[in-house]
């Protein structure tokens, strides 16, 4: 599997966020997108996920332009955003079960187990602590498996124990042939990592 980006540029609200970003990512690799606050990390991830249209450039999956045939990229990735995508009125299990049904996968019990959520899985997510919500959100990666993980600050508000736990999940995912695009300010000390520094890119041009 491979993901390629070619000459991506992004304008939001008449401001050029970044231009001419390219990278290529293969199975077993992680791309770490670095950059200051406001550098455009989240914007780039949204472009990869197809939620935001780049002003220029293209994304290739397995060498094919995802615009030409959106089906091939459909359901091939999972996107973890700043926001939780959890319904406060539903419990953790109910939320995860919905998403796994929606994405046509089913791995909820394993997900709960991996993220040590069993004890709190039946609490409405609305009254969970910040870190508990984040873990429930991350558990979606296991509950609905997909080869590419797009991760926007996955470890914010996790404690050290769970950061390590998540890092292990990520390493295992990549070892098993998966891949990930990761934007975070905290160094997860991964091998197999490629770096893309948006600040440096901006300097280049």
């Amino acid at each position: 599997m491979s993901l390629n980006a070619r000459h991506l540029s992004c304008i939001r609200q008449d401001r050029l966020i970044f231009k001419n970003i390219s990278f290529s990512l293969n199975s077993g690799e992680v791309l770490w997108i670095k950059g200051k606050n406001g550098a455009g990390k989240s914007s780039l991830l949204r472009i990869i996920a197809g939620l935001l249209k780049p002003i220029q450039g293209e994304i290739l999956w397995q060498g094919e332009n995802v615009k030409d045939d959106p089906d091939i990229f459909q359901n091939q990735f999972r996107y973890i955003a700043h926001q939780d995508a959890l319904k406060p009125a539903l419990t953790g299990t109910e939320n995860l079960r919905f998403w796994s049904q929606y994405f046509g996968t089913d791995n909820v019990p394993a997900a709960l187990k991996e993220f040590e959520l069993e004890r709190i899985a039946d609490v409405p997510t609305g009254i969970m602590s910040a870190g508990q919500k984040k873990r429930t959100n991350l558990a979606r990666l296991i509950a609905c498996p997909a080869p590419l993980w797009i991760l926007d600050e996955p470890v914010s508000s996790l404690d050290t124990h769970y950061i390590a736990l998540f890092r292990n999940q990520l390493v295992r995912h990549v070892k098993n042939g998966g891949m990930a695009v990761l934007a975070t300010h905290q160094d997860l000390e991964l091998d197999f990592i490629q770096m893309l520094d948006l600040d440096a890119e901006r300097g280049k041009s």
């Binding site: 996920a49 939620l51 926001q83 995508a85 319904k87 009125a89 539903l90 919905f98 994405f103 046509g104």
Partner: protein, 221 residues
Amino acid sequence: MGSFFSLLKRDIQLAVRQGSAFTMTLSFFVIAVTLFPLGVGPELSILARISPGVLWVGALLACLLTLDRMFQADFEDGSLDQLMLGSMPLEIMVLAKISAHWLTSVFPLILITPILALSLNMPGEGIGAMILALLLGSPVLSLIGAIGAALTVGMRRGGVLLSLLVLPLYIPVLIFGVAAVEAAIAVLPVGPHLLLLSGLSLGALVLCPLAAAAGLRLAVD
């Protein structure tokens, strides 16, 4: 299809759990219709005369009340992004949301209408026609509403637009709906009006999900 039903199920579950949509429109409808006799006075003949109009307007307004949350809640908590990444076409996703809206916010109104109609002294012939007209015509309310909801989701001036966009489009339903009931009360044929309402529903069923999906694509950008 699995995705479709899972989304439908979740939205209904949420409505039941939060009670927001479910009983909100219902109590709004009941109370709005209850307020009318208080405002207009208890004369039975006048009440009977205006009852089809009051019930239809009440249903329209009650439906409008929940429209703005149709996509807004999902947008705010990031669920909309995720919903758009599923493998089912966006139009079908929208249709699932619309169905959930109709089932949770509009259908209960129809169930309670007979009682309200009785309390407004509507003649018995009218009540049957009222129910039929609502069943056939009310899907239009959710369908057209979805366009407004999608176009205004995440928009800074959403509220205004939504009612401005949607209510004018509701007028045909209102007119044919009332006409059907009044025809029934006057013992005239109701069929043509009901046919028109079904036609509106079918047309809306085809067009509205397309338009709403296009609106949503703009919103997440």
